[in-house]
Amino acid sequence: MTREELKIKITDLLPSATFEEGGEWLNVQIDPASWLPFAEQLKKSPDLLFDYLFCVTCIDWKTHLTMVYHLSSTTFRHTIVVKAKLDRNTPEIETVAHLWRTAEFNEREAYEMFGVNFLHHPDLRLLILPEGWEGKNPMRKDFEDPVNMIKL
Amino acid sequence: MQNITDNIHDWLYATFNPTIAMLIEFAIIGALAIGLFAMLGLVLIYMERKVSAVMQLRLGPNRVGPKGIFQTTADTLKLIVKEGMTPNGVDKLLFNLAPFIVMIVAMVVLAPLMFAKGFQIWDINIGVFFITAVSSLSVIGILMAGWASNNKYSLLGAMRSGAQIVSYELSAGLSILAVIVLTGSLKLSEIITSQENGWWIFKGHLPVWIAFIIFIIAVTAETNRAPFDLAEAESELTAGFHTEYSGMKFALFFLAEYVNIFVVCALGATLFLGGWMPLHFGTGTKFNEVMDYIPSSVWFFGKTFFLIFVIMWFRWTFPRLRIDQLLNLEWKYLLPISMINLLLATFIAIMKWHF
């Protein structure tokens, strides 16, 4: 599907979605609450079939967090980018680990690095940080570690 | 050789009363056995390192002494001066006993071996049986080490080793039997004498060939050598049953492994390749006389070291088997084949078709 066709199809699926201009692929801006049903449709809808989630990113914009999902279809070879704006103090979004198994690990990384709480995640534990880690999430912009971080 | 040992024996009995003479003989033999044990360990480890080096396009040890021949001595010295550590949480008695059991077993098995013509510690009439029986005791040492270490890797390694040694003993025994039925004796000296007119490998047709191959495979497994080194599979279990050992206790395991290889290869050389018996064809030929000029000890060690080289060659070529495949190989392939092979050998022996 081309970019325009995708745009029409996605507007059908989720009327509240907005689109960002520019970028290599179609950028879809959604509300985090609508993410799970939308994701299910993206995965299962027969003319979309987004079965390959190749990148899960969390970005700290200082005022809010953004979860970015790069999705691609191995059948149709089209790609979209889904972005969901999260509240910075209580970031919460539904997990998609049951749809794309790779999300399980990637969400665990986002959980510990940014503190995003993935609801209904099967195994939301620390993966990289040592057990019993307390304090801030290291990849956030305001993280300070006076011992291990060297300012150049 | 025969003369030297006989002379010493006669002189001792002439000079002292029989009890003291016997004790002196014990002492001499004990010293010789320990000396041989240490020497074999050093030589074989050096040999292993050189063999692996030439197969892997490397140089091998080359710093300590000319061509690095003192490398293993230096390593042993280093291991001796290391602290003999006993980790917390181990079963102290078993942990410390295990390496000695393995070592003692390896030393005891040296007894009935015939190193040269008339050069033998104990010409027991059930020599072959003695070797197979005693050498299987070493699994107890390994199981003890694995259990006492209180380490899961060690335990897994020891259990693997137990399953492996117990099963491979069968086909090793059956392949030995193939020669025994042809010889009609368990006495090592008689087995060697029976090969005066040609080694069994030449006289015994196909059954002995098959028995020989199965024997080599089975003893490789019995001594826990690659490709059957599951007990210490280092990519899976770090070091298997001796994970927790260090210093001299580790060195004893290591030396015992090599002495075991020597023993089984010596046995193989004795049974299939005529032991110290020079290469003979028929009786009283000119060729035999020429061969007799080479000392019998050279023949024995030549054959043994050739077999050791083959086993090392296996190690540096093959990947390791998995535990279930290891047991499959034994129970589905080696055991049936060696049983049929034994029947064949018996048939040949009865019909006197061998040369």
């Binding site: - | 892997q56 070529t317 093959f318």
Partner: protein, 160 residues
């Protein structure tokens, strides 16, 4: 019969595949003298040649008059991603009485250097280069902090 045939075929195939492997290692064992690849490293130190682009450590090029080309512009310090270069500058008086920025000390932290070559790329006067020395081990970490400009050295005339 088919079963026995398969069984024997399996065994023979296995033995053949193993023999092929053994032939290869056996061949290498025999041809070892020709095929061996190990070098006797510390012994061949004199004949060991490293390619001229090899990145061993950063050096400041001095010519026979003990002059270098470093103007103290700190381009390398800015280019360095991990802060292993520290340039301390001073002000020289030029003959016509003007103050001119010049290099005082070129501090190089070999312990932090990752040999990324970015400083060499950044240098506008090609004053520094990568040297081939690679035996960097020292017993004291402080020995790895080096001062690259030799005592008494000064900037070559005509380098701006």
């Amino acid at each position: 019969m088919g079963f026995i045939k398969n069984y024997l075929g399996e065994v023979l195939g296995a033995v053949k595949s193993l023999a092929t492997g053994m032939k290869l290692t056996g061949k290498y064992a025999l041809k070892h003298r020709k095929e061996k690849i190990t070098q006797l490293y510390p012994d061949n130190r004199d004949t060991l040649l490293l390619p001229e682009r090899f990145r061993g450590e950063v050096v400041l090029i001095h010519d026979e008059n003990n002059e270098h080309a470093c103007t103290g512009c700190t381009a390398c310090e800015i280019a360095c991603p991990n802060g292993s270069i520290k340039i301390i500058t001073k002000f020289d008086l030029t003959p016509d009485g003007k103050k001119k920025k010049a290099l005082d000390t070129f501090v190089y932290h070999l312990d932090m250097c990752t040999m990324c070559n970015l400083c060499i790329e950044a240098c506008p006067t090609d004053a520094i280069k990568m040297d081939q020395a690679f035996e960097h081990s020292v017993t004291n970490r402080n020995d790895l902090i080096k001062i690259l400009n030799k005592p008494g050295s000064k900037i070559r005339d005509g380098v701006e």
